[in-house]
Amino acid sequence: MEVGQLQRSFVEYMTSLFREGFLDAQFSQLQQLQDDSNPDFVVEVVSLFFEDSERLLNDLTMALDQPNVDFKQVDAHVHQLKGSSSSVGAQRVKNCCVPFRNCCEEQNTEACLRCLQQIKQEYLLVKNKLQTLFELEQQIVAAGGAIPMVQ
């Protein structure tokens, strides 16, 4: 596929991600931070995000699986998840964290499990999307083009 087309698909894809709420302005900020001294900044941050999120989600699953759920711990995890997702601009994941925290406050295990389910879904979605995005980027780079900036 030629570069122009790839770039257009990239822009479209990126725009749709913003439009559909998967990413927000913070992601754009990340992109701005990427420069010649730090060429892979975004990928690094996002990879870190994936690692941390998966770890946190596992921890959450385990915590909620206990007979006596330690809601404080759960809340702490969710807080971290919220923090990291907001730093990366994964808006939907971040939005899921708010009701999750409410459920923790109410100490409602059922509700927490539902929230967890939801977050997992969102997380998978956004991971998928970002990976697609990065693939597109790589394709563009491989085809010799420059990655277009999307505001």
């Binding site: 725009t15 913003f18 439009r19 559909e20 709420g21 927000d24 302005a25 913070q26 900020q29 990340l30 701005q32 931070l33 420069d35 001294s37 730090n38 900044f41 690094e44 941050v45 870190l48 995000f49 941390d52 807080h79 971290q80 923090g83 990291s84 907001s86 730093s87 990366v88 808006q91 899921c96 009701p99 509700a111 539902r114 389910q117 939801q118 879904q121 969102e122 998978l124 979605l125 998928n128 697609t132």
Partner: protein, 802 residues
């Protein structure tokens, strides 16, 4: 006084006299011989008479003096003296006369003459005086008569006054008795009893008008107990006569109102009747005295005892009149009291009912909110599942048809998700539990940002968008920035959305009081003050317009307008209604802010919003006015906040700044010493990395630390700034700040401490102030923001509100 003529000079005259006398006697002797008494006898008689006369003459003054002395009052003493002198002299004359019967010396004659002369003098004077005195004496008598009459008259008047005073006393006593109670029946009964007693009446009766007002019913009597309630029609001439005047009227004992006792062999006493006005509450106007134009009267009938000759006296009638008036007043007081007690009871009942209703309403609202919250959550979950899975489905291999279907599913479910969000927010808004996020922000920048956001879409639609801000708009204002942006975006967005071609113009200016008084918004009585001003924003478009008849419906829930249903605006009538009211962002994709509730927000900001349109196809203008605060009037906290979009920033790099980044997880990244410290107390690796990247991008030398202890261990004077994230609950980030203060003491030596936080509430601000932070930054932190923060920090060593 006969003697004078018979007297003659002493010696010779006596001789002469004897001769005469003898001649007379002789001559008489010739006539009457024997019967004539002798000379001597005559002489004797004269002698004696003179003596007695003298005696009397002497005793009379004595008596006079005696009696005058006895009576203290006698005005005419001088007269008495005169009189006395006169009498005495007369007496003296007669006395002296005694000596002149016989031969007497010349001395006696002299004395006699003197006496006579004096007597003559005095008697003449007295006679003259008497002319004056006797009339006086007579008038004394007249005056006496007059005074007697007067005294009798005064007596009579005294009698009258006394009677009046008695009457007055009786009235006072009666009044007191009557007014001492506020009970209607007691009042009336007491009146009758007291009147009966005071005037010694045989019977006293009170006829009250019935409810219909057509009859008078015998309500109270003094003595006779009437088992059957007598009534008389009210239109009797006698009754009309009594009601026609406020005076007591004498009536015949045979009239129907006075015939209370069966007829018998007795002479009924006189009967009088008087009207008693029954005043209502409504008669007492504020400025009028109760007008007796009231038509309701009662009739009081008073009967004197029969078989007595007693008659009604004037003072008794007056008493009755006064009492009738007093009764009227007392009755009206009683009526007023009754009514007010009834009103009070009613109010209490109403209060109880209202309280109950309020509690029920509160319960209902709470139940609704709980329900909504639960439902919302319940609804969101499957919604998200649908959205998520549809998205995933989109990634798989699909035929074109299938792809279209999935896309439609996604679009619809997105819309539905937004609607669900709106429903929950609406209920919170309606309760007023959605607080405004008040802060200082840059107003022109806000408008420009809105413009920037709208421009892409407008240009796609080939619409011309202009912005004009009046010059008297303040640059920085206090208000809810986020929501104002939402309002603007929605209004402008709608303008763009509903215009196929032409232009959209946004103008903003300070609302003057004339423009504030809009006939459509009469309740916005806006008074700009020193601390506030009213912002008026007009968004005019050349779009499809609105039928003026539909304008009132726009802002009500769930109305459809024909025009909207037929255009391909991508939304239903419901959509527009919700859009207009709550602002669903159906077309704004760049900013995915979900919930616009701009009309509600406009209300929260104490403003008003309305739309004007000439008609269909003629475009429309949306206008809203909201109240914003003016900063710098000592109504904001002292803790500085960084503006989101600083007016101008410099492309600065911060070479060689040492930064320290602290993280709670303890996994501690590479600690790179820098002049700027970054202490992230809470954020996990990802955000730490991001922030580090941010600062590195700006040219700082960043050091990150993993815990408070590590931070305190590592911090040195070389580090210029310590960034600390304080939004983690349960961790006392402020401790580090305190320690740093203690350790490094005065300002110039120590690193500046800046807090990063996600919430702008007072508690956080206060805590930061307390521990002496040099600045607070709102997350999320953009590159520009961080840049400006650092430049300010290094310039002023404090992050000021810009």
């Amino acid at each position: 006084m006969v003697e004078a003529t018979t007297r003659s000079p002493p010696s010779e005259p006596s001789m002469h006299f004897r001769h005469q006398l003898s001649s007379i006697v002789d001559s008489c002797n010739c006539i009457i011989d024997l019967q004539l008494p002798a000379d001597d006898l005559l002489m004797k008689y004269q002698y004696i008479s003179d003596f007695f006369i003298a005696l009397a003459y002497f005793s009379i003054p004595v008596e006079l003096i005696y009696f005058v002395k006895k009576s203290a009052v006698f005005p005419y003493r001088w007269v008495l003296v005169q009189f006395g002198a006169f009498i005495v002299l007369c007496g003296a004359t007669h006395l002296i006369n005694l000596w002149t019967f016989n031969m007497h010396t010349r001395n006696v004659a002299l004395v006699m003459t003197t006496a006579k002369v004096l007597t003559a003098l005095v008697s003449c004077i007295t006679a003259l005086m008497l002319v004056h005195i006797i009339p006086d004496l007579l008038s004394v008598k007249t005056r006496e008569l007059f005074l007697k009459k007067k005294a009798a008259q005064l007596d009579r008047e005294m009698g009258i006054i006394r009677t009046q005073e008695e009457t007055g006393r009786h009235v006072r006593m009666l009044t007191h008795e009557i007014r001492s109670t506020l009970d209607r029946h007691t009042i009336l009964k007491t009146t009758l009893v007291e009147l009966g007693r005071t005037l010694a009446l045989e019977e006293c009766a009170l006829w009250m008008p019935t409810r219909t007002g057509l009859e008078l019913q015998l309500s109270y009597t003094l003595r006779h107990q009437n088992p059957v309630a007598l009534t008389v029609p009210i239109q009797l001439p006698i009754i009309n006569q009594v009601f026609g005047t406020n005076r007591v009227v004498k009536i015949s004992p045979n009239s129907p109102v006075a015939r209370l006792r069966p007829a018998g062999k007795y002479m009924p006493g006189e009967v009088v009747a008087v009207r008693v006005p029954l005043l209502h509450l409504s008669n007492f106007q504020i400025n009028d005295w109760p007008e007796l134009s009231t038509k309701r009267y009662a009739l009081m009938v008073l009967m004197l005892p029969s078989d007595s000759a007693r008659q009604w006296h004037v003072h008794e009638l007056e008493l009755v009149e006064v009492v009738a008036d007093q009764v009227a007043v007392a009755l009206s007081h009683a009526a007023i009291l009754e009514e007010s007690m009834r009103a009070r009871d009613l109010l209490m009942e109403q209060n109880v009912a209202l309280d109950l209703a309020r509690r029920e309403a509160e319960m209902a609202v709470r139940a609704r909110n709980d329900f909504l919250a639960v439902m919302n959550h319940e609804m969101r979950t499957p919604m998200h599942a649908i959205i998520a899975l549809s998205s995933l489905l989109q990634e798989t291999d699909l035929t074109l048809e299938q792809r279209l279907m999935v896309e439609t599913i996604l679009k619809s479910s997105n819309l539905l998700a937004t609607l669900i969000n709106d429903v929950l927010d609406l209920s919170r808004l309606e309760d007023g539990s959605l607080p405004l996020d008040i802060d200082t922000f840059n107003l022109p920048a806000l408008f420009r940002e809105v413009l920037n956001l709208i421009k892409p879409i407008a240009s796609v639609k080939k619409l011309f968008v202009t912005l004009s801000l009046s010059s008297d708009l303040p640059e920085y204002v206090i208000g809810d920035e986020k929501r104002l942006m939402q309002i603007l975006l929605n209004v402008v967005g709608n303008a763009v959305k509903f215009s196929k071609e032409g232009s959209v113009s946004i103008s903003a200016f300070v609302a003057k009081s004339d423009s504030l008084r809009d006939p459509r918004a009469p309740e916005v009585f806006a008074v700009p003050s020193e601390n506030y001003f009213y912002l008026r924003v007009q968004v005019k478009d050349t779009g499809i317009g609105i039928n003026p008849q539909d304008i009132p419906n726009l802002f009500s829930k769930f109305t459809q307008t024909q025009a909207l249903a037929t255009t391909n605006s991508g939304g239903t009538g419901l959509g527009l209604a919700i859009c207009m009211r709550y602002g669903v962002s159906q077309f704004l994709g760049v900013l995915s802010v979900c919930d616009f509730h701009f009309a509600m927000f406009v209300n929260l900001m104490e403003g008003h919003i309305w739309i004007e349109s000439e008609g269909l196809g003629k475009g429309s203008t949306a206008i809203f006015i909201i109240r914003l605060g003016i900063p710098g009037r000592a109504n904001e906290s002292k803790l500085p906040f960084v503006a989101k979009l600083p007016a101008n920033h410099m492309q600065m790099t911060f070479q060689g700044l040492k930064v320290l980044v602290m993280d709670d997880n303890g996994s501690g990244l590479a600690v790179v010493y820098a002049l700027v410290w970054l202490v992230n107390d809470l954020l996990i690796r990802v955000s730490r990395m991001v922030t580090k990247g941010l600062l590195t991008h700006l040219g700082c030398d960043v050091t990150t630390v993993g815990s408070r202890d590590e931070c305190l261990r590592v911090v040195t004077q070389e580090h210029k700034v310590v960034f600390m994230d304080v939004s983690m609950p349960g961790i006392d980030c402020y401790e580090v700040a305190v320690v740093i203060h203690e350790r490094f003491g005065k300002r110039h030596g120590r690193p500046l401490i800046v807090a990063l936080t996600g919430n702008t509430d007072r508690v956080t601000k206060e805590n930061c102030m307390r521990v002496g932070m040099d600045g607070v930054i709102l997350k999320p932190v953009s590159v520009d923001k961080m840049r400006s923060v650092l430049s300010e920090l290094l310039e002023h060593e404090v992050v000021l509100e810009s």
